[in-house]
Subunit: 109 residues, 4 copies
């Protein structure tokens, strides 16, 4: 059931997806887009991997748990990149990615 054990992770994944989608769009409107290229690329991958993981966990699929490791990896990479940029959307995204990685790590444990 998605309402019990998995719910905190699903919530963290959904916040992370929103932060990444918004960060990518906002980065594309920054003055120095070139500096943000890696950030945008990671935002795209992170949003999509988190989206599938949330879907599979909501579904109660065994494959949801299998994706947690990849989810943690991309969230940590995205958090590390975003943390280097001062923009509000990057800082918010870094924080959402860190929380998501942490939530995934507790479920994976």
């Amino acid at each position: 059931m998605h309402n019990s054990q998995n719910r905190p992770v699903i919530d963290a994944l959904q916040e992370c997806i929103l932060a990444c989608e918004h960060c990518a769009s906002a980065c594309l409107q920054e003055e120095h887009v070139k500096m943000m290229a890696r950030c945008i690329q990671l935002d795209r991958d992170c949003a999509d991997i988190c989206r599938l993981t949330a879907t599979l966990l909501a579904r109660g699929s065994v494959h949801g748990k299998h994706l947690l490791r990849e989810c943690i990896e991309v969230c940590e990479a995205c958090a590390a990149e975003c943390a280097q940029h001062d923009h509000d959307h990057c800082q918010a995204c870094a924080e959402a990615c860190r929380r998501c990685a942490e939530a995934c790590r507790s479920l994976a444990a």
Copy 2:
């Protein structure tokens, strides 16, 4: 920005996605799956259409608003079907779909 005007709709979309994904899986485990076939089919479509709409709204894309009408249609169809079944997951899904349709309707207005 996804945090202001769009946020209530995005939240309603995300609850609807979770309810539909869970409902489809739970329907597949019911004694009388055949009776649930249309419910499962609508759950799949509703989850996927809501997922794209949430993604585009979070992204600040103009296409997010364009999808609202289709989203309302599939949410209403899914709510009407789910409401006919007594299972807790169907009742919860009907409610989430109705709320989502309503939230989409206010944003579309």
Copy 3:
């Protein structure tokens, strides 16, 4: 059934998705990323809208046909933007988007 009437459209959608995903990544690696910002944004939206349309058509869902109009709109916008850039990936993407819009238009008719 996805193998008969819908198959040419699904094929065009899938080619368009690949071209858009590749174009967005390649744009992010160009020297002048800022000039490509709108292209990247449209590539993201176009890929995602085409992906859902292909999914729903493959599924035989009535909602697949409903998405064709939006699909045509985003494909045409993406084609118009990409056509303005000389990069091979942009020219290839413009062509894939045009073919996809055309295929969607014949199915919608």
Copy 4:
């Protein structure tokens, strides 16, 4: 680049997605849906996991290769389940899943 080394895998993934989406819908219309419940569940997961893998590979993302192992696992599970049912859509899906697992295995090697 998605046109060279990755292209055969992407093609196999896309055929697998179409076969799974169609198989799930067709299973829901069979006389004995209950027998098809596990098939439908695996079709959903397999389509979604293959869809993300194809997306990431088209994008040239390193995470595409990371998903291959999970993709192989779900394709093999789906192929094994589908192979047990005589319906044309199940046999076609089993074959598409097997080819996809094989293509993923060669890229992963």
